[in-house]
Every structure is written in structure tokens, then in C-alpha cells.
Symmetry: C2
Subunit: 478 residues, 2 copies
């Protein structure tokens, strides 16, 4: 194992801090094709926990998992014009197999709307077959120009859900319900607070009628889009001819939704909770929740036996790792810290004498002596406290750094000041473009909680200044 290296302080250089944390936390290696990454056990383990727990939420909603092909023939992809226009520049294209040219180009899926549309077309006859609520866990490829581990890579992992409904009302309800599910999941499992809202027409998904989003605030004040849910209306069903017989025995096109979260969430975890010692894993998705560290065990067999028993006992309920190597106590502690393990339990000869162990919290670095009865119960309480503390810290930061402005000068100042800025805004594409060029900020969403504001304000955009009751969150974003 390589020696632990230093992490650049986030105050000094946030981007460098992020890269250092990712590298030192034993999270990834770079793949041989530029912009691809290897998910090592310490990051893939988080993704496995996300899959497991989100699948439970999905099962409650009657969602069924499926798996569709990686490969999309050119003709199929070209059916929905906005969709192909949105994705074309990033499409990895297979033209050959071995030494043979293919007759038709084949794309690697950047998302699977057209594949699901093709499937649905042949699966539905009447309203009795509806709704269909499918999800898949899959890899997708988008050939991005600039890449960053977890946040933007040429291949990433995600879940993408796709549904068909017999009415627009039901489909819209499902779209909104899913964005709430994501917000709940991020809160309950990742300890990440979010702003729920609707995307502006400019920022919505290519091919969607409307897009809902959960936006999280990173420690540098930038926004990270953490999950989206799209109401596709009949945009795809009309192009792909997905019809059903309704209750009146008339043919109609189905109403569709799609929705997803991706391995970006791993980036969100790092930049929401991490500190200058590295990543801090939210306990409920941490691949390792507890490190048991044998201190000076080579000199004391009693410590070794004790730790092995403690490891076995805790493993019944938690994801635990035992470090019984011959490294020094300082190295073992640093190694646990830099990998973000929520709790480490240090056991040395004196602890055995005193019938106690030392628990160290990764979030507060607090050392807690606990007696060695009911360790499991005490540890469970501490893990929940860590989750609650991480969430509370993040929520406080989000609230303190979200500000309302009603004029463009203040807007620019607050964006420069790394804030989430809520502003009255008419949502013209050209205005968004200009604001982005001038300030680096993009619209994140029309937040749900400002749905019905009490009073109208003038649009922030100086060429507009019309009265509006639309409020939009702006921020610089990942």
C-alpha cells in the first residue's frame, strides 16, 4: 500500500481538493480511454448501497427492473428530432466489427428513451396493460469534452426509469412523485438536502415536455443537479407509434415519463460532506460503516482476540472491517479517516483493562469512550447521530447561502459570492444565455416552494424588467 499523501485544503483550491480526495480515498483509478474511470471497492460499494436502498423505494412504487440493450441503430435514434439534436455530438458510434464495416451505424446508448419506446410499441394493447413502470440499472456513454471523476465522465452508471400511462394527469403525477422520492432518498440515505423544482424550457431534457430536478449545494457554493424526472407527454409515443385502446375503445398515444440518478451522486457526497481530511461517508450508504483498529496488537494477544470477537459481533448488524495489520496506530487512524469510514473503534491493551473502547467519529473527530457492554446499540445510535449531523450541517449551509435578489447588480455580486440566488425571472432562453455568459450562472430550477409567491417582482434581466411571478434559482453549477 502506498504512503498516504496530503490533500490540498479546500479553501486553497477546491478543484484540487476534490481531485485529491477522490485519489487518496481509494475511490477510483483512471481508465485507459481518457475520461473513463474505474470504480474501486470504496466507491462501487457506495453505488451498491444506493442501488439496494433505492430499489426498496422503487419496489414500494411498483417499479419493475428490466435490462435493455446497450446498442441503438442509427435509424431508431433519429426518430425524435429534439432528442437526436441534444445527444448527437456526444454519441459513440460503432462502424466496424473486426475488420468488417457495418451496413448501419450503431450508437452506444447515451440514454434509453428510444429503446424503451421501441419495446413499449410492441407490448401494449389496451389501457388494461397500463401503467407500465420499468427501471434499469445500466451504463451509458456520452463523449464529454471535459471530464471529472463521478461528475462528468464518458461512461457512467445510473438508473433510468421509463413509464407509460393512459392519461396526462397520471403521467404528470408520476413525474412529480418521483422527484419527491429522489429528494427523500437523498435526505434519508445520503444526508443531502436539495431544492426541488422545475427546469426552465432551455434547461429541460432533450425531448421532454417538462423536467423536474433536485439541486444540491456543494461546499464551494456550486450547484449539482442530483436527479431528474421528465414528463415526456406524447413526444416519443407519437414518433414511435405507441398506441393503446382507451376505456372508450378509441386508440390514443400513451403518456410517458423518464427519470434517473447516476454515479454523480458520489461526487455530491464528497462535495457535500467532505473535509480537508478527505471524504466522509454518510453512514447508511458507507461500504464500510465501522473500522475496528487493533492497536499494538502484535504485543498483546488479548487485544487481537477481543477485536476479532468485536468484529464478528458487529458484522451481524453493520458493514465492518478489521485492521489487524502491523502498521502503527497513527497510520491506521489516517487510513480509516481518508477513506471516510463513519466510525472507527480503537482497541488497545489499556481499553481491555478498563472494559471500554474508544469510538472516533469521522464527522466531528470526537473521541468517545464507551463501555464494552451493548456496543452494538451504542454504535447504532452514534451512526444515526452522524447521519443527522451531516444533514443538519448541509441544510444550514444551503439555507444560509440561498439569497433573494431583485436587481441585476446584486445578482452579480451574490453569484460572485458563491451563493444560490433566487430571482424573479421571465425565463427567456436568450436572457439565460446572456446571464450565463456574463456571470457563469445558470438557471437551476423554478423551486417548488416559491410556486405561489405573494407578490410580483420585476424580472432580473435588464432588457426585460417585466413584472413576473416566476422565481428562479440561479447558481454556478457542475
Amino acid at each position: 500500500m502506498k504512503e498516504l499523501e496530503k490533500i490540498t485544503p479546500m479553501e486553497q483550491d477546491f478543484a484540487k481538493w476534490y481531485t485529491d480526495v477522490v485519489k487518496q480515498g481509494n475511490l477510483i483509478a483512471y481508465g485507459p480511454v481518457k475520461g473513463t474511470i474505474v470504480f474501486k471497492p470504496n466507491s462501487y460499494g457506495i453505488w451498491e448501497q444506493i442501488q439496494k436502498n433505492l430499489n426498496e423505494y422503487f419496489a414500494e412504487k411498483g417499479i419493475q427492473n428490466v435490462y435493455l440493450p446497450l446498442l441503438i441503430p442509427e435509424k431508431l435514434f433519429n426518430k425524435e428530432k429534439d432528442h437526436i439534436a441534444g445527444f448527437n455530438p456526444e454519441l459513440a458510434t460503432i462502424t466496424k466489427v473486426g475488420d468488417k464495416e457495418l451496413d448501419e451505424k450503431v450508437f452506444i446508448r447515451p440514454t434509453s428513451e428510444v429503446l424503451f419506446a421501441d419495446l413499449f410499441k410492441n407490448s401494449i394493447e389496451s389501457y388494461k396493460d397500463l401503467p407500465i413502470i420499468y427501471n434499469q440499472w445500466a451504463n451509458v456513454v456520452r463523449w464529454e469534452k471535459t471530464t471529472n471523476p463521478f461528475l462528468r465522465s464518458r461512461e457512467f452508471l445510473w438508473q433510468e426509469g421509463h413509464t407509460c400511462h393512459s392519461s396526462a394527469i397520471e403521467a404528470r403525477k408520476f413525474t412529480k412523485g418521483m422527484i419527491s422520492t429522489y429528494a427523500k432518498f437523498l435526505k434519508n440515505y445520503l444526508a443531502i438536502p436539495t431544492i426541488i423544482g422545475k427546469k426552465t424550457p432551455k434547461e429541460k431534457f432533450a425531448g421532454a415536455c417538462s423536467t423536474y430536478t433536485v439541486e444540491a449545494m456543494m461546499k464551494d457554493g456550486r450547484a449539482l443537479q442530483s436527479g431528474t424526472s421528465h414528463y415526456l407527454a406524447q413526444n416519443f409515443s407519437k414518433q414511435f407509434d405507441i398506441q393503446f385502446k382507451n376505456e372508450n375503445n378509441n386508440l390514443d398515444y400513451v403518456y410517458q415519463t423518464s427519470w434517473g440518478v447516476s454515479t454523480r451522486l458520489l461526487g455530491a457526497i464528497i462535495m457535500t460532506h467532505g473535509d480537508n481530511r478527505g471524504i466522509i461517508m454518510p453512514p447508511r450508504v458507507a461500504p464500510i460503516q465501522i473500522d475496528v483498529l487493533e492497536l499494538f496488537a502484535n504485543k498483546n494477544k488479548e487485544v487481537h482476540v477481543y477485536c476479532e470477537n468485536l468484529y464478528k459481533e458487529l458484522s451481524r448488524k453493520f458493514r465492518v472491517r478489521l485492521d489487524s495489520s502491523d502498521k502503527g496506530p497513527g497510520f491506521k487512524a489516517s487510513n480509516s479517516e481518508i477513506q471516510g469510514v463513519p466510525i472507527r473503534i480503537e482497541v488497545g491493551p489499556r481499553d481491555i483493562e478498563n472494559k471500554s473502547v474508544t469510538v472516533v467519529r469521522r464527522d466531528t473527530l470526537e473521541k468517545i469512550k464507551i463501555n464494552n457492554e451493548n456496543i452494538k446499540e451504542q454504535v447504532e445510535i452514534i451512526l444515526n447521530e452522524i447521519h443527522d449531523n451531516l444533514y443538519a450541517q448541509a441544510e444550514k449551509r444551503l439555507n444560509e447561502n440561498t439569497v433573494f435578489v431583485d436587481n441585476y447588480d446584486e445578482f452579480k455580486a451574490q453569484i460572485k459570492n458563491h451563493k444560490f440566488v433566487v430571482a424573479p425571472f421571465c425565463c427567456l432562453d436568450s436572457a439565460e444565455e446572456k446571464i450565463k455568459n456574463e456571470t457563469g450562472a445558470t438557471t437551476r430550477c423554478l423551486p417548488k416552494k416559491f410556486d405561489k409567491p405573494l407578490e410580483k417582482h420585476k424580472c432580473i434581466f435588464e432588457d426585460c424588467r417585466k413584472e413576473t411571478n416566476r422565481y428562479v434559482v440561479f447558481a454556478r453549477a457542475y
Copy 2:
């Protein structure tokens, strides 16, 4: 939902039977690129159970899950000559992104030895970092000419494990241990008996030193290779320069293994257990273990309430589905049967009166009246009996249809007779080739249980007829 159609009897046309079962069992749809398939909930659900349970076996062996990129640059792939020669004709090749030509061709992984080699090269310093025992669940692409759902498709899902060890002995032991794990898994979860053995030099994995296999017998007597484990020796580590410092502080190349099972297992399940009514799901990996069928429920509210409660109660322990639709009893039973659900519980008004329910076993079609106390316990016993029965049937068939021969005439007759034929054989590549051309049979393995035969026999191959103590299983194979 479409009307249930008929399944061709397997005695009449086994290939047609298989296609019908796959289609009628609601297992797949065909993808838009020829040779690709959609895994629908009823087949993807089996794969999820396989993942979950095999992951538990893997965790016991200290295996860590990771995820490596889909994309392999041409240069990297070309480093191991046997490996590239084996895979080149089937490699899907990305040459363009959007409208731009790439500088270097990129292959879609057909397997990931070179990606893992590239990762290991930068991860290992000394023997203290070894062994490394990684696994990934992933999709791979091999552009096969003839395809068949689950058995041979252009994209399939699998797990591929890759390990590095400090000694040849340890790596060989791991290779053999994994093939035993697969055999145990197939027995305990899929109810499939297998013959464990070593591949002949001609049939081993491209780039391996030796390959071990588990071979299962399908109902038509053909063999299905169901899992493989490869001892790679230093073949890749030398090409990719994966070195470590051993205990004597000298540099050495690591010894490697790789091993995998794939969604072929779904084909194995169908062709091992299925009958003329369709697939029969082995209970421990069935996505739905129990169908609760409300009979005449629209006329009887008591039945409906009873079934809902039964569904809730059983769901605590099993994967259950409730059919409370307005279809007739016959349709509901057929629908459950054709999807291979191990048990259906039929509840009609009379059952409520008699305080009993009717359990129908999918394997034997036996109807069992059970009283409605302790249903959970009774159902668990029946599910275990179904597993045991499926295994016993398959084992009996395997034993009865595996024959020993010592001359080529009998060999040809028994192959024609759809048997697994064990024969003395010197394992010359050219002899294998000729036998394959003449009989359609390939070598499946040198079986473990014939490792040390009591007596030598003459090689089956007529141009050879040397005395040998090698025994080889031949069969026609998928």
C-alpha cells in the same frame, strides 16, 4: 395482455420449444440491433436473484466488487497475442463520435482481462498488497454470427472476477476453488447438477494457461458450459508488466486468475427444468415464488380480503404476486404456469368455508389442499421440496445419459443418441477438430472424478489408439 399461445412440444422440435418458452414466459423481447435482447422483469428478476446470492458466496471468499470501463483502446487490447486473436473477429469497434473520426479505435469490452491488467499494473507494490480479489457485474459485447436468447447474444450480462496472487500455487488453488463454488451455487440455487472438469488445450480460454468448467446437460442431451475459471499464470502480467516485490525483496510477475458466469444460466434453467407448459423457475431464484390467485373474487368479497391478507402475510418471507384481476380461473392458472412460478395458491369461496387453500406445484402439477394455519411454514417446505425434486430429476437424467465408450463406432452411436460420452482421448487439437466435423461433438472437459482412473485405455481417435489415462467428456453443445 395478449392471449396465451401454444408451446411446441419439446419432443417434436426442441429448438422451437425453447424459442416458444422464452417468448411465452414473458422473459424477453428482441432488441433493435439483431442478436440483442431485452431482459423483461421475469428474466431480469432471476438475474437479480443470481447476483444477490452469488454475491453472498463471493463475500465469504473475500471478493470485492468493482466496476471497470466498457471501453478498451486498440493498443491496450493488442498486447496479449492469443487473447486478441481469440476475440478480434467479434469486436465491436467505435471509430467515430458524432461526426468526428477518433484518432485511435476503441473496442467495446468482450471481456476485461486487459482492463484489469492495466489497473493492477498501477495498484501493486509488494506481496503485502496481494492477493487482490476483484469481481465486476457488467455487460459485454461479442458480435456473434448466429444468436439465441440467453445462450448466445451480441450483448450479455455476466460477472467476471479477476485476481492477482504472489504464487502459482495460490492462484491455481483459487482457480479450482472458484469452479467448485460455481458448481455449489448451481446445485444449491439453480437446482442444476454439473460435471466439473478441465478444458482441453484446444477449448481453453484465449490467453489462459488452463481453464476449468462446469458443464450441465440440457433436456435434449446437449451440453451447456455454465461457468468457467481460468488460471492465467503470468501470461498477462508479463505482457502488462504487473510486478511485485516478493518476501525476498525480488521483483516477480503476479499470477492471475479470471472466472465468470453469465446470463447463459437463464438458458440453462429453461432447458434443465422446463416442460411443455413452459419454464419452471427454481424456487430460490424465482422472481415470483408464489402466485396467489383469487378465484371468482368479483362475486365474493370475502375471498378478496382473504387473498389480500394472505399476500401480505406471505410477502414478509417470500416473493409473492397477487392476481385479483377479473380473468377466469383457467386463464390465471395458465398464466402462472407459463411464467414458471413454483407455487400457485388458489383461493375460492369454498376454500374460505373449509378453512383451507389449494397449493399447486409447478414442477409436478400436483394439487395439495393445506389448512390455513401455518401456511408460511407449509409453503416453505413445499418450495424446498420443489428445489430438491428439480435437482433430483436433473441429476438422474445426467447420470443415466452419461456413458463410457472405448471405441469410435460406439462413440459415434452414443453421440447420435444424445448422450454425454466419456472416452479415453489423447487431446490432440487435430483429433478434436476431426471428431467435431464427423460427429458434431466437442470436448467438454477432462472430468474431475476421472482424474485418476484405475486403468489405461486406448485413445478413442482412430488415427491414434495410443494407451492413455486421460478421460474426456464429449457432447454436442450449445
